[in-house]
Amino acid sequence: GINAEYGVSQDCLWFLQLSFSHSLPSSKSANMSIMSYNGSAVLAMTGKNCIAIASDTRFGIQHQTLAANFPKVFQMSDKIFLGLTGLFTDIQTFHEKLVFRLNLYKLREERDMKPSVFASLVSTLLYEKRFGPYFVEPIIAGLEGPENKPYICSTDLIGAPLLTSDFVVGGTADEALLGMCESLYKPDMDPETLFETISQCLLASVDRDAFSGWGAVVHIITPEGVSSRKLKVRQD
């Protein structure tokens, strides 16, 4: 079986100590961050009257890849997309919690939630678990208001929001993603150019990260609608 315990070290990193003795010829023990137990890569970018959000589709447990069809981007409403990186069980649970809250909001208020309001809700829900958090780092992307202004935001695992106008990144490949975006990003790209740019950023970054990759999906959101495309990537 798997024994796991986690604790907080001085610099506030969450560690997961594992030892498993089944199904492997040798027992391995790993001391690693809980945020890289599964591995993921998500990024979002703004363009001219459009936004793009993309993720890899690997589902893995540490070094083992189990599936190549697990995207980490969820469409919450017509104009709101949510990307979640981190521990997969928390990705699934947190996503369900947000669907719950969003549905209740729609029923009670008889209107759609704005992306900025959704981001505030995400932040609040995460902070509620301040001393026992969800191990997720969400990315919110959407078109805000009647003018469909591009909106992107990311938060850390306890809800601190980061509001930018260009791009936000997350996951085990986050540093590589930041570097790629910083080099390739230009403001006011049209949907086609944005698609090319976000795809290049994602691909180059996940290829350098052992824990992400194995497929990628890109969504381009404009006021007219959403177009989603799967990218052909290295299956390793």
Binding site: R108, E109, R111, K114, S116, V117, S120, L121, T124
Partner: protein, 234 residues
């Protein structure tokens, strides 16, 4: 309520299907001073009379209160009961803001307050609130005026009155109301309606008026602002 010996609800059905405690609560409301509200096409006005004796400090009596910067409330009935609801309402509004960083829509705060009032008709050891509330606000849906009753029912009004002279006031309002009334006219109409049912001399010190317009700010008028309007009406 856990430690109370009353784990049963004090509001129970009569054989005829009535909740008599709520009926009596309505009586308490009808015995209270009149309050009214008028929804104009660009704002809402609410008003009430202050029952003062010559020894009372008029500025210390506040019957119209802010729930948020753009939603106000007036009551008819038992003052202290309304204070509890105003406080709960303010907390509800702030909780909403903390979660969504958006001001609470008028209908949502009405729903939640009505839900609170309903709870007190179905819980152990409590009695219904002895107030009806008129809630006035301006949000994305435009100007809105809602009434909430001791039973917890709520509904939107174009113009309404609660309290002692509600019947006369409503008759008066029915004649004078039109859908495209402007806020300024609505204020004049409110003053005239109050005058109809006022016992004694109506001055700027013994009535309260609150307005909210498209600027999204609920404002309680000062006595000098009230006297400007009453003079226009004369």
């Amino acid at each position: 309520m856990g430690e109370s010996e009353y784990s049963f609800s004090l509001t129970t059905f009569s054989p005829s299907g009535k909740l008599v405690q709520i009926e009596y609560a309505f009586q308490a409301v009808s015995a209270g001073s009149t309050a009214l509200g008028i929804k104009a096409k660009n704002g809402v006005v609410i008003a009430t009379e202050k029952k003062l004796s010559s020894l009372l400090d008029p500025e210390s009596v506040k019957k119209i209160n802010y729930l948020t910067h753009n939603i106000g409330v007036v009551y008819s009935g038992i003052g202290p009961d309304s204070r509890v609801l105003v406080d709960k309402g303010r907390k509800i509004a702030q909780t909403y803001y903390r979660t969504y960083h958006e001001t609470i829509p008028v209908l949502q705060i009405v729903r939640e307050l009505a839900s609170v009032m309903q709870e007190f008709t179905q819980s152990g050891g409590v009695r219904p609130f002895g107030v009806s509330l008129l809630i006035a606000g301006f949000d994305e849906q435009g100007p809105q005026l809602f009434q909430v009753d001791p039973s917890g029912s709520y509904w939107g009004w174009k113009a309404s009155a609660i309290g002692k002279s509600m019947v006369n006031a409503k008759t008066f309002l029915e004649k004078r109301y039109s859908e495209d009334i402007e806020l300024e006219d609505a204020i004049h109409t409110a003053i005239l309606t109050m005058k109809e049912s006022f016992e004694g001399d109506m001055t700027e010190h013994n009535i309260e008026i609150g307005i909210v317009g498209a600027d999204n700010k609920f404002k309680i008028l000062t006595p000098s602002e009230i006297s400007d309007y009453t003079q226009e009406v004369e």
